[in-house]
Amino acid sequence: MSDRPLLERISHYNHNAVDTREPSGPLYDTIRAECPVFHTDSYGGYWVVVGHETLRQVARDPETFRSGSGSMIPPMGVVRRLLPMESDPPDHPRFRDLLVPMLSPGQAKELEPLVRKVARELLMGLLPSGQADLNEAFAKQLPMHVITRVLGLERSQQFWDWTETLIYGRLEAASSDRIVEAAIGMLAYFEALLAERRESGRHGHDVIGALLDAERDGVISRSETTDLCFFLLIAGLDNTAFAIRASIWHLATHPTDRERLMLDPELVKRGVEEVLRLYAPVPGLSRTVAASTELDGNELEEGERVLLAFGAANRDGEAFEDPDVFRLDRRANPHVAFGVGPHRCIGLHLARLELRVAIEEVLRIMPDLRLERPEDTTWYPAEELLVSFSTEPGR
């Protein structure tokens, strides 16, 4: 057995901590070599799965590993379930059957002209000043435009304020009042909007319109409509913005990759997958054990939680050659940034579209962008991304 300090660290492992977010190095080497399924006592205790194949096995078994008791560690603490993520059969397929067709590849494709137009306008608008925080002014704005259009909402900075409080505030124990306030604010907003839409009978041909149709048909209840809207907005904003920011950071710090992508735009799709693999926006989500089971030689008890460590699994050397290297020659990239199995991310086609267009337009309009503070800036956490660039568009 190896290093005792490392084994100590493993028993207190926290997947949200800044120092474990990059899933490589001696700690992860030890975990992968000796205990790819291990238990940590953080947040009241949970198991962690970092192996790609084991993660897929767990994610494909919703009977044994359930989501209805919550998928986030630590939980958001808002009492309402995050739907459809925190549901199991028979409810879960009911939500999926409704939502998946609304967010299909074809639906995403129809949005491409809008996504490109918005991306260009945002970037061209920043160009004259020669510098910008591309997190606030671009990475966060593009998903705001897209998810509000898809759902059928007017854009509002308030959505970002609520989302950031709910996602990041939960990592700061002192914020529980702020979290409850944000949740109440967002829920009240949706309840008012939905009430107005029901009464007016106006059909927006958007996701909210389709949810209200389903509600009228008795497929979902009113409170489920609210919960679905709540979750879709948060998920559509935060994860995509994180990935867009990480893409730009990678382009700014890896000139060889940037040049290759500019010379061969067909490679941008592979670049998108490598960004998702290496800089997975969601480090992990959890399941709850429904009945005692064995996993990789470990006895898991009913009620225990199991974290599917997507980011770590994306660096599994058994699944990926040179796992920590961004390689544009990877032709097969079965990363699990979007999860796998019945709960795989519903927004993935939208997310991929936004990422591809974001990278294409940054390369087109700001090909020479450079970080203001390269030594202080990395892909995690998703803070400001100060860059400077020439005031003329690239092409």
Binding site: S104, R331, N333, V336, F338, G341
Partner: protein, 63 residues
Amino acid sequence: MKVSVDSDRCTGHARCADACPSVFSSDDNGFTVLLVADVPSADEAAVLDAVAGCPEGAISVSS
């Protein structure tokens, strides 16, 4: 080379349709539809990429 898709495992990532659009297509819900069962030799490499790249491991090939 023959190709098949386990429709119970397919959750509609559509990586295969990206890897080899002449063999794999997506239905309205994003789930995979095979356009052919016998893979043209020109597409064999791309189909093997699709097999390896499917996050669900839902695609198999045999000779």
